[in-house]
Subunit: 635 residues, 2 copies
């Protein structure tokens, strides 16, 4: 067998410390840049003011500059009269104060008796309203220490202090080398087995955000000599090398050998998940990082190691992860062998943040797009119980999270349409976590979502949703907002080659079925119908095979991996499948009555009641929205 | 009088709402850009996946692809033997699964019996370890809604979903026009009355951070026709116009007239402080903002109005201010007429954030450099009491704040030197708020600082510091770390023209004195000496004139605004003044014993005990460091 797994499993911090210690003698060079072009750069030296600011005494207000002594006797009853040119000059804010004057009286305190005479009714204090020399910056004063990232406000102070050029570290040049025979450039014709290369594009954007200059290399196919040459050359011209080395253990060894041949591997394998098989080494005195191919692993290696590295070679060692405290909406297990990064959705419900864990796979790019934050479960822990207060590294601003309407429940395509229309307003976001109808009900009960989308069939009464809300959420006053009736039906390949026209046919024709997950409304409907028809689930091939959305069920059928599945019309339509209606179901919104007053919820309700939204439903087809917006209070 | 003050005083939010409503029909155009170049851009349309990812079934692990049914009987005792090419193929992670296979068994679960035969001891489940088609992204799925700011992870998902170009808003082109006859370009020869132009450079860096493209215009001198032409031309070519219009009320009217002549002024004056005299209007259908000249006012207008504007013309309306909850270290008053922005220092002491207000002037660029955060005091409030929990908009990362050692107390230049050497380590920062020795003692008592720098003379015993710590901080165990002995003396103009050789001479020669603020150690020393010598403070001209640092006292004397002041040798040296020693004083560090264990404090103590630091002290002169580092525990 070709695999050769001998990864180390040291902690992230230990690995970083070893790595940085090994490469600590390498720093990028410094350069002088114009102060006004230095934003974001790291100072190489402390910077001292060359001149004072202001460098002359100036007026802090609009008024007259005069001599305080002359005003000492001024009262309401005995005003002091002053004459322009003799006793005062008019000054605007910022004007220099002539040497003979020692205070400024502001315009609001002046009584004009003629064009060039004023009266004063209270004495002035020496130096009042005067910005004295050096009030802001004193010549010789430290403006910025070394190892400081220059911000816009710093640019102002530097120029005010007479510093027009600053010595900063050069931006690290980062070579990004994608490798692998299976990866292809976007736009090339795709064959089975091809993977579109995109990690390097994500890295480039990240490196730019970290303050480096990314250069993305052409894809290097799996050819040891070729890769060795490219890495060798890159390490001479660039400051940091990132080798994105496919996702298999075999492929990593390949990267590892190249690094070993040209230089040294310090670390192979870090106890984090996702992200474990990272390689940290050095080639031609330059730090090199072998980054795993799985996009989520790659992301966490970039954020936790490469970001630090880009800072470190500029003598800068600060983190800027942002954390908030949130309540965990469900129990989450983790291996005590790893520091695990768990992506979460965040909502701000009843004044506290709620963190709802989402997908944990290393390959799902969408999980990162959908994530609002990352929960870091330390190595020594086996996980967290539901309800634990945890620190979450947030990926959005708190304002964005607070303007997010959280929906936990059953998924339907129309939620994406509504989310997009809501986003168009520019302010509120709809964030939906797909956990099925029952998951939504439980989140409502535990105050972990703004609303739940549900389609739960009461198998006793044949009625949808009401009885579930009543039974499972006795502690809250819930409104049921009628959303849509949707047609559930069997999705089959275009042309219906197996001639499936009912659930019975699935068994009869021996069709390969693809199911929805337990607890989902569609699953309950299926089981209800199977029972009604006296069909044993065991007789359905693929009954155990679970997908989490309508559209992923449709996709399986479209690609020929299954023959039939139960789902909504719109999913069948998008995937160009035939559709055999089985039942109508009520897909509704359950929401605590008090949340109806939230601005974001109001705007969401406006969106779903709009003509624009209904037009979109028509385009999708398979929805009846005649009751849309009706509100039933469940007591 | 030329001033013409008729500012409105509406609230910030109201002003923004009126302004945005007036200009809401203006948006920048959209354009198509390559997905990998779209980081930070705002989507103009929702973006849907063009292909599924993966678009074929692939292996999620390294192992063999086989048929699950063949393994159903496998147990420890009755292993199932499989043959390569017949029963399985070897697959690496990511490899496509040939149609005839339906599961993958990972390499760890294989027992190799020959090069091409394996044994299995437990059955496989259909679809195990297979990444199914569309597992990550399904064709037609919404990847990003409109009005979404594209992040690096989004780029990955877009490319994976077959989207190689995206429609985004063009980056708004922002014209920055500095105006005023008194402002000069950096590097020009400076005359009294000149102001070096730097606001536009700060704006440009800010605009870039907001996602716009700044263009900085040449300075326009005060010439109505000229300015009108420039604004008119700019409003045809740019999307947003920023007019930085000097700081006087007279000057604003000037900008206002230009805008009124060419277009319309909607708002002049907003109830915020600093920042009040802002102008919001429109010229040639483009939004224009007249920004006050005071740098701090300008900063808050940029952060609170222009940032929103740059987002708004791209259909984006989200804030990303970051707040933390902090305890206010002293009472702060504010006018209920304004929303006031108060700059604060932040420290993380005993597990909670402490906010210490600093300067409040609108002209001090250094106050923004020094600030760690901004406390926003709402209009309706008259301020906050000491100890109030307040929300602070942070300007640094929480990590940076947590790695900040906070020093509240008496200022000395050597603190800046130590701060710079500490910063060199790249991790910890020393942040010092200058409130004098007694202020430091009180902050220690109230657990609001890590340590205090003090030089407090006990006028009964003639001894420094100990008795104050004992008396004023009875609740904590404090260590007094001996820092330096420094020579306090009279600073006078080079050559000592008034022949001042003692404090008595100040009175005798009628010299203009400049004093330090009440509560400062230098002030206490002065009063002690005056009493001892029987001098009445009232006989000293300028006794009431207070400066907050040694160096600002020195600067006043250097520029001829005063004849003498009491301070340390180093300040006199930097400002090239003569120095007449008066007394030696002990400048020490008072620190709670438990803080000696903090990493940042340890590193700070290393810094001040280092040869490098002592060399710097030698260069400054006037310090005796023979006891440096000695620790006295005060019980």
């Amino acid at each position: 067998m070709r695999q050769n797994i001998y990864l180390s499993n040291i902690s992230l911090n230990e690995a970083i410390n070893i790595f940085l210690e090994k490469i600590k003698d390498f720093k990028v060079e410094t350069e002088y840049v114009k102060t006004y072009e230095a934003n974001g750069r790291i100072t190489a030296k402390p910077i001292f003011a060359k001149i004072s600011s202001p460098f002359y005494n100036s007026s802090a207000v609009d008024g007259i500059a005069t001599v305080a002594k002359k005003t000492f006797t001024a009262t309401d009853k005995n005003p002091v009269r002053l004459k322009e040119g003799v006793d005062y000059v008019v000054v605007d804010t910022g004007d220099p104060i002539p040497d003979e004057y020692d205070c400024v009286i502001m315009v609001e305190d002046l009584i004009w008796v003629s064009q060039d005479e004023v009266e004063i009714i209270k004495p002035a204090i020496p130096w009042q309203n005067i910005r004295q020399i050096g009030e802001d910056i004193v010549e010789g004063q430290l403006i910025l220490p070394q190892s400081h990232r220059i911000r816009p406000v710093d640019i102002g102070a530097l120029i005010a202090g007479g510093v027009f050029e600053v010595e900063v570290y050069k931006k690290p040049k980062v070579a990004i080398i994608p490798t692998g025979t299976e990866i292809v450039e976007p736009g090339e014709e795709l064959k089975v087995g091809d993977i579109i290369e995109f990690n390097s594009r994500v890295f480039a954007a990240q490196v730019e955000e970290y303050g480096g200059i990314p250069t993305r290399f052409d894809i290097v196919k799996d050819d040891f000599e070729k890769l060795k040459d490219v890495v060798d050359q890159a390490s001479r011209e660039y400051d940091i090398i990132l080798l994105n080395a496919g996702s298999s253990a075999g492929r990593e060894d390949y990267s590892k050998k190249v690094i070993e041949t040209l230089g040294e591997v310090y670390i192979h394998g870090v106890a984090i998940k996702p992200g474990k098989p990272v390689i940290l080494g050095r080639v031609n005195n330059k730090p090199i990082v072998g980054i795993p191919g799985f996009p989520v692993s790659a992301y966490f290696i970039m954020e936790n190691i490469v970001k630090k590295l880009v800072n470190f070679v500029q003598g800068y060692d600060r983190k800027d992860k942002r954390y908030i405290e949130a309540t965990l909406s469900k129990r989450i297990m983790s291996s005590p062998k790893y520091l695990e990064f768990v992506r979460v959705k965040l909502g701000f419900i009843d004044g506290k943040y709620i963190a709802a864990p989402i997908e944990r796979g290393a390959g799902t790019t969408m999980s990162l797009v959908r994530a609002d934050g990352v929960l870091e479960i330390p190595e020594e822990l086996e996980g967290y119980e539901k309800g634990t207060r945890v620190n979450v590294n947030i990926l959005k601003s708190e304002d964005e999270i607070k303007n997010t309407i959280l929906c936990i429940g059953s998924h339907d395509l129309i939620l994406d349409i509504a989310a997009d229309l809501l986003a168009k307003g520019g302010k509120f976001t709809l964030s939906s976590a797909h956990v099925g109808s029952m998951g939504g009900i439980l989140s409502l009960k535990d105050r972990e979502t703004h609303f739940a989308t549900i389609h739960l069939l009461d198998v006793e009464t044949g009625e949808y949703n009401k009885s579930y809300v009543k039974r499972y959420i006795p502690n809250r006053k819930i409104a049921l907002i009628k959303f849509v009736k949707r047609i559930q039906g069997l999705m089959v390949k275009k042309g219906n080659p197996l001639e499936i026209n009912s659930l019975e046919d699935i068994v009869k024709k021996g069709a390969r079925f693809v199911n929805r997950q337990k607890g989902s409304g569609t699953r309950i409907l299926l089981d209800y119908e199977l029972k009604r028809l006296g069909i044993n689930p065991k007789d359905i091939i693929g009954y155990e095979r679970e997908e989490y959305t309508h559209i992923s069920v449709a996709a399986q059928i479209a690609k020929g991996n299954a023959d039939a599945g139960l789902g909504v019309f719109s999913a069948a339509k998008i995937m160009d499948l035939d559709f055999i209606p089985i039942a109508n179901e009520d897909y509704d919104i359950a929401i605590p009555v008090e949340y109806l007053e939230l601005d974001g919820v109001k705007q969401f309700l406006e969106v779903i009641n709009s003509e624009e939204f209904k037009n979109e439903l028509d385009k999708l087809g398979g929805y009846d929205y005649s009751n849309l917006g009706e509100i039933i209070i469940i007591e």
